[in-house]
């Protein structure tokens, strides 16, 4: 159970990337989680679903570019720490590239 702060940061970064990658038009509207569908209650209780949708939208807005940059930095850093062979580094590069492509 050897958790380090580094693994926490890495896990947090990947989770935030996963949330930021959820596309508004292609995916969220299809399952009824688009932000245009959240105009409902005007009382003082927004409800959990509306809060979640707002959270996803704000994460996406804030972390769009930052995620890609941070992922590049982290994979480069990990490469340096691992000192593994060439095909492994190519795999990591491809992994990050894939994650970055999802942002389009």
């Amino acid at each position: 159970m050897a958790f380090t702060l580094y693994s926490l940061i890495q896990a947090a970064l990947l989770c935030i990337n996963a949330v930021a990658v959820l596309h508004e038009e292609r995916f969220l509207s299809k399952i009824g989680w688009g932000v245009d569908q959240s105009v409902g209650g005007f009382g003082d209780e927004p409800g959990i679903k509306v809060q979640l949708m707002n959270l996803i939208r704000s994460v996406r807005t804030v972390m769009r570019g930052a995620c890609y940059f941070l992922l590049c930095t982290f994979s480069h850093f990990r490469q340096k720490m691992a000192k593994k062979k060439n095909y492994v580094t190519f795999y990591q590069f491809f992994y990050v590239f894939n994650l970055g492509l999802c942002h389009i």
Partner: protein
């Protein structure tokens, strides 16, 4: 959100801490010392000027460092949480281990600012969690040593993994507070303090296990888990639930139900963490 000691600054810092600085004595010092050997030094106007300039430069530098540091780490807010004294720590540890006799759980306020911990037993502080965390790491090292599994890197591993669990717990609580839109004056540091109170129970369990064996570990851990559960529920009830529900009346409605569930799950997570972080120390 009520800001803690937003109006407290250095001039009335004696409200938080006893002013034991030697400002009175310090002024008498240089005069007495300068009288005898430094007479010739002080008489020289150039060195006088240099001394005055140097001291003003030093105080300017310190002000700048304080101001910049205060932007990143809110030091003035942190000071509030460390304003404790021995009586408070003793009473708080007693409540953490035996919360069943304590009756009044409300935090008292003084003109809209929460009172410092040394004047109110119910106020959260950061001294006990910090000391508890450090003691937990030391006791973990001790426990691993008695099983011949110790190495110095393991201390760092224990420390970082306990810290990671703490951070994840605080983040999870913050996320759920955001999702349920609770209007509360619980700050992040408050949540950190409440999550850190479980280290006391963990230490007691591990020490009992080291001294008296596995059965004592399980018994004391059970006692401390129940105590922390009751403590958390009674403390969080006043902060998270609405006024009516906190007094014990049954208030219907989905919102209050959600808040009750949140309180219950925060309190139930504490025993889980306590067991999770200590079971591998007692074999």
């Amino acid at each position: 959100m009520r800001l803690r000691n937003s109006s407290m600054d250095g001039s009335d810092g004696s409200q938080l801490f006893d002013d034991t600085s030697a400002t009175g004595r310090g002024q008498a010092g240089p005069q007495a010392a300068g009288g005898l050997p430094g007479q010739s030094l002080l008489a020289d106007p150039m060195s006088n000027l240099a001394m005055a300039y140097g001291s003003s430069l030093a105080s300017q530098g310190r002000e700048m460092v304080d101001k910049n540091l205060d932007r990143f780490i809110p030091i003035s807010k942190l000071k509030y949480y460390f304003a404790v004294d021995t009586v408070y720590v003793g009473k708080k540890l007693g409540i953490l281990v035996f919360p069943y006799m304590h009756e009044n759980w409300e935090v008292s306020y003084q003109q809209d600012i929460p009172v410092a911990p040394r004047f109110d037993v119910n106020a959260p502080d950061l001294y006990i969690p910090t000391m508890g965390f450090i003691t937990y790491i030391l006791v973990a090292g001790l426990a691993l040593g008695t099983q011949n599994r110790f190495s110095p890197e393991l201390l760092g591993v224990q420390a970082s993994s306990a810290l990671v669990w703490l951070i994840m717990e605080v983040l999870a609580v913050l996320l759920s507070l955001y999702l349920i839109t609770v209007n509360t004056d619980l700050t992040t540091i408050d949540l950190l303090a409440f999550s850190g109170y479980k280290y006391v129970g963990m230490i007691l369990g591990v020490v009992a296990g080291l001294l008296f064996g596995k059965l004592a570990y399980y018994l004391s851990l059970l006692w401390c888990c129940a105590a922390i559960f009751v403590f958390m529920i009674r403390t969080l009830r006043l902060k998270l639930l609405s006024e009516a529900a906190a007094e014990g009346k049954l208030v219907r409605g989905a919102r209050n139900q959600l808040r009750m569930y949140l309180t219950m799950s925060i309190a139930a997570a504490q025993p889980v963490f306590m067991y999770w972080l200590t079971y591998h120390l007692i074999r």
